[in-house]
């Protein structure tokens, strides 16, 4: 699993994992979000375009990231999941908590 991260606009950070977001890679995603928020960017988008597969540990990392961002006064949003990821979000009822945005760029609206 690879991670890239960057900034979209006015302090909104984007994290792009690629590959399988599972128990092996979940810890690294968690750390990446923590360091991003600690670096002063508490509004985070996780762009799931490149994620082929997610398991419960991967979801756990997203929830941990959400908590980190919220406690810093920001938010964590997810964008562009594939079918398997969407299915897991539905089956676990995670879609009750986290809305899915079409793309990282639109996750925080246009501004």
């Amino acid at each position: 699993m690879e991670f890239t991260s960057g900034e979209i606009a006015d302090g909104i950070a984007v994290v792009r994992p690629t590959g399988r977001l599972n128990m092996v890679s979940a810890g690294r995603l968690r750390e990446l979000i923590t360091s991003t928020v600690a670096g002063g960017r508490s509004r985070v988008v996780v762009d799931l375009t490149g994620v082929e597969f997610i398991d419960s540990s991967g979801l756990g990392a997203l929830i941990s990231g959400l908590k980190t961002a919220r406690q810093a006064g920001g938010d964590l949003r997810i964008a562009a999941p594939n079918e398997q990821v969407s299915l897991v979000l539905r089956l676990t009822n995670m879609d009750r908590v986290l809305p899915v945005y079409a793309s990282a760029e639109t996750a925080y609206g246009n501004g």
Binding site: M23, V24, A26, G27, R30, E52, F53, D55, S56, S57, L59, G60, I63, S64, L66, K67, R70, Q71, D75, R77, Q84, L87, V88, L91, T92, N93, M94, D95, R96, V97, L98, P99
Partner: protein, 686 residues
């Protein structure tokens, strides 16, 4: 059942292997039914005994309720018949458990390449003891990583782990000032610090054998298996087992019987768990908990806001306006939640809106303060203050103070409540709590939730770890109290009978264990009834001796036969004795668990010490039982005297004297237990 669907989902990317594994699963389940003929015959006889016991029991109980109840002495007759009914339900549930009690066939060989984390949980056990377990854990043959989970956060434990070359995990800063959740919290913390597919959980004093993983990982070839529990056997128990530590009936026929109904319990140690299953529990728990918390807080906020609006001064439009704005924001949020808008979006928007209103409030507040101060300064400048003006000033100050206290104070409490309407579970150290934290015995609650999600469990009866049992009565009593309290907490918080994800049989398997802890109340009545008869000649049963024996003796005989046959040579009598003799423990556990669940009273929870407590025999630990024994003996003397004087009725006296003897034999189990000086290993000569 999301669990099964999800786990199939997880085999994704390897469809050939998935299909293959699917076939394996089917074959394995078929082979359970192809057991050898001896086992099948045995089970058939056992089922016959179960049916006969229940039928004879019903025959006896129907007669007791409808044909022999002495209503003239209802105050003892009703409790006694209730206690007997309790016991019949208890033995029926035991019979249901035994219905499918058979050993499992050997599991498939453990496939290579699985990742396993071995967790050794410790709180205050001696470092040497933990290191002995860790050394054995490191020597487990199947490739794995070993971790010591030290809730005591001891530097010397950390050093010892490092020098042994095993991992060391302790709670991080997130756990400061938040609930620790004892062992469940310790494991939940470690779950997020590791990444193995499977976890082997060991108590600090459970020394694993090298083959523990080779013999158990094969079960997980069935992708719906979340848990493999192995027995807890103790190496420091003298022959005769005075403290009743070896739970041979439980870690044998009972767990096998529960396993037959896919309800083998997680018992906290010597068990393997599938990480994916636990994390699913964590996710499901997070979603449910967040939803519940947000809904509750939104409802609460409405109430608090309405109260604040009532107490606000009628003439202050600013405060009233702000409160109305907040109320409208809360109402919007509530409607959005009801319309199933994602909670994260709703709460984020609400938080932003509240911030906006707060900023507006602070600005207005400062403005009002300045205006009031101006007014005060004008009045203070006048030297000849008239009486009515002074009154006015007092009332101005009063108004100012109350303005500070009442509407804004209320607003701030509203704000605090509103801030808690969030999806971050700020009150917990981590948003995910895969191991259940609703009970001091996290194990049973966790496996019940796994079963409720559709996961399967396995009981593997082979010995794979050797543990240490308590070596004195005091420690043993604390341990039993904790188990009973934890079980009753689960019963009162998540009644298994109401868990819709489980089959009826699975629910009854959990209920059965909880039901058995109510035996303390029944025991009390079984001790009281003969005392009442022998002292006052009051018989709760309205019958002739012949009629009574005709119905009671066959039931009692089959009851005992069931235990003997189900036990397969395992001694079960000591267990039966303890289940009655420890009545004060069970009663205390039930009462304290109810007080805890309904009135939030602390349990007085204690960690079971693994080392022996010093000092001589402590009879005070069993004061209630000693009192009962003395009362029984006195009652026997009185009853005999009444008989000799011609007051007592001969057959009733004989039956009740027999009953007293039985009760005293039951209680006698405690004498060697009090006197027990701990395990003395035999010296090896030459």
């Amino acid at each position: 059942m999301p669990a099964a669907i999800l786990s199939r989902e997880h085999a994704e990317g390897d469809s050939a292997a998935r299909g293959f594994r699917g076939v394996d699963v089917v074959q394995e389940r078929v082979s359970v039914h192809r057991a050898d003929p001896e086992v099948t015959t045995r089970l058939a006889v056992l089922r016959l005994i179960v049916v006969a016991t229940v039928v004879l029991g019903l025959n006896y109980m129907v007669w007791r309720w409808f044909f022999s109840l002495n209503w003239g002495a209802w105050w003892i007759a009703l409790p006694l018949v209730a206690a007997e009914t309790y016991s019949l339900i208890d033995v029926s549930l035991f019979g249901l458990t035994m219905w499918r009690a058979r050993p499992r066939p050997r599991p498939p060989v453990a496939p290579a390449g699985l990742t396993v984390d071995v967790f050794i949980t410790t709180y205050n056990e001696p470092v040497d003891l933990v290191i002995e377990t860790a050394t054995a854990a490191r020597a487990i043959r199947y490739p794995h990583r070993t971790w010591i989970l030290d809730d005591g956060d001891r530097p010397e434990m950390s050093e010892a782990a490092t020098s042994l070359g095993v991992g060391y995990i302790t709670r991080g800063a997130d756990w400061l000032d938040r609930p620790l959740h004892a062992k469940a919290g310790n494991l939940n913390n470690a779950l997020l610090a590791t990444d193995g597919e499977f976890l082997l959980i060991l108590d600090a004093d459970q020394v694993p054998l090298p083959q523990i993983l080779d013999e158990t990982l094969g079960y997980f070839g069935d992708e719906s298996v979340a848990l493999v529990q192995t027995p807890q056997i103790f190496g420091n128990v003298t022959p005769g087992d005075p403290l009743g530590s070896q739970a041979g009936l439980f870690y044998g026929p009972i767990q096998q019987g529960k396993d037959g109904w896919n309800a083998a319990f997680f018992c906290g140690s010597n068990a393997l768990l599938r990480r994916e299953a636990l994390m699913q529990l964590g996710i499901a728990g997070y979603v449910a908990e967040v939803e519940r918390a947000v809904l509750t807080a939104l409802r609460g906020a409405r109430r608090v806001l309405a109260k604040a609006a009532r107490s606000a001064p009628r003439d202050n439009d600013v405060v009233l306006g702000a409160l109305a704005e907040v109320a409208s924001a809360v109402e919007t949020a509530r409607l959005e939640v009801a319309a199933l808008k994602p909670l994260s979006s709703v709460t984020y928007a609400l938080q932003r809106r509240i911030e906006e209103i707060s900023r507006g409030m602070v600005a207005i507040d400062i403005h009002l303060l300045a205006r009031d101060l101006d007014a005060l300064r004008e009045m203070g400048g006048d030297d000849e203050v008239e009486w009515d003006v002074l009154m006015d000033m007092e009332s101005t100050v009063e108004t100012l103070a109350s303005r500070e206290l009442s509407p804004l104070g209320a607003f701030e409490s509203v704000q605090t409540l509103l801030r808690s309407i969030d999806v971050d579970r700020a009150e917990e150290a981590q948003p995910l709590m895969p191991l259940a934290t609703i009970s001091v015995t996290e194990d049973m609650a966790t496996s019940m939730r796994l079963h409720d999600m559709g996961w399967r469990s396995v009981y593997h009866s082979g010995l794979l770890a050797v543990g240490l049992a308590p070596e004195d009565l005091g420690t043993m009593l604390k341990q039993r109290l904790r188990w009973a309290q934890g079980t009753m907490q689960v019963f009162l918080k998540e009644n298994p009978l109401r868990q819709r994800g489980m089959t009826i049989a699975q629910r009854l398997m959990y209920f059965s264990t909880m039901w058995s802890y109510l035996s303390g109340f029944a025991a009390l009545i079984y001790f009281a009834a003969p005392i009442v008869f022998l002292c006052f000649g009051i018989l709760p049963v309205n019958t002739t001796a012949w009629e009574f024996f005709l119905r009671f003796v066959p039931f009692m005989a089959l009851n005992q036969l069931l235990f003997v046959f189900a036990g397969r040579g395992i001694p079960t009598w000591r267990g039966q004795q303890y289940s009655l003799a420890l009545f004060p423990v069970w009663i205390r556990a039930t009462v304290s668990a109810a007080a805890n669940v309904y009135f939030k009273r602390p349990l007085g929870f204690v960690v079971t010490p693994k080392t022996r407590q010093e000092g001589g025999p402590n009879w005070r630990l069993i004061t209630p039982q000693v009192c009962v024994a003395v009362a029984l003996v006195i009652a026997a003397v009185i009853g005999t005297t009444r008989l000799v004087l011609g007051v007592g009725e001969p057959i009733g006296t004989a039956v009740n004297l027999g009953w007293v003897v039985f009760d005293l034999i039951v209680l006698s189990v405690l004498v060697p237990a009090v006197l027990y000086r701990g395990f003395q290993p035999k010296e090896v000569s030459g």
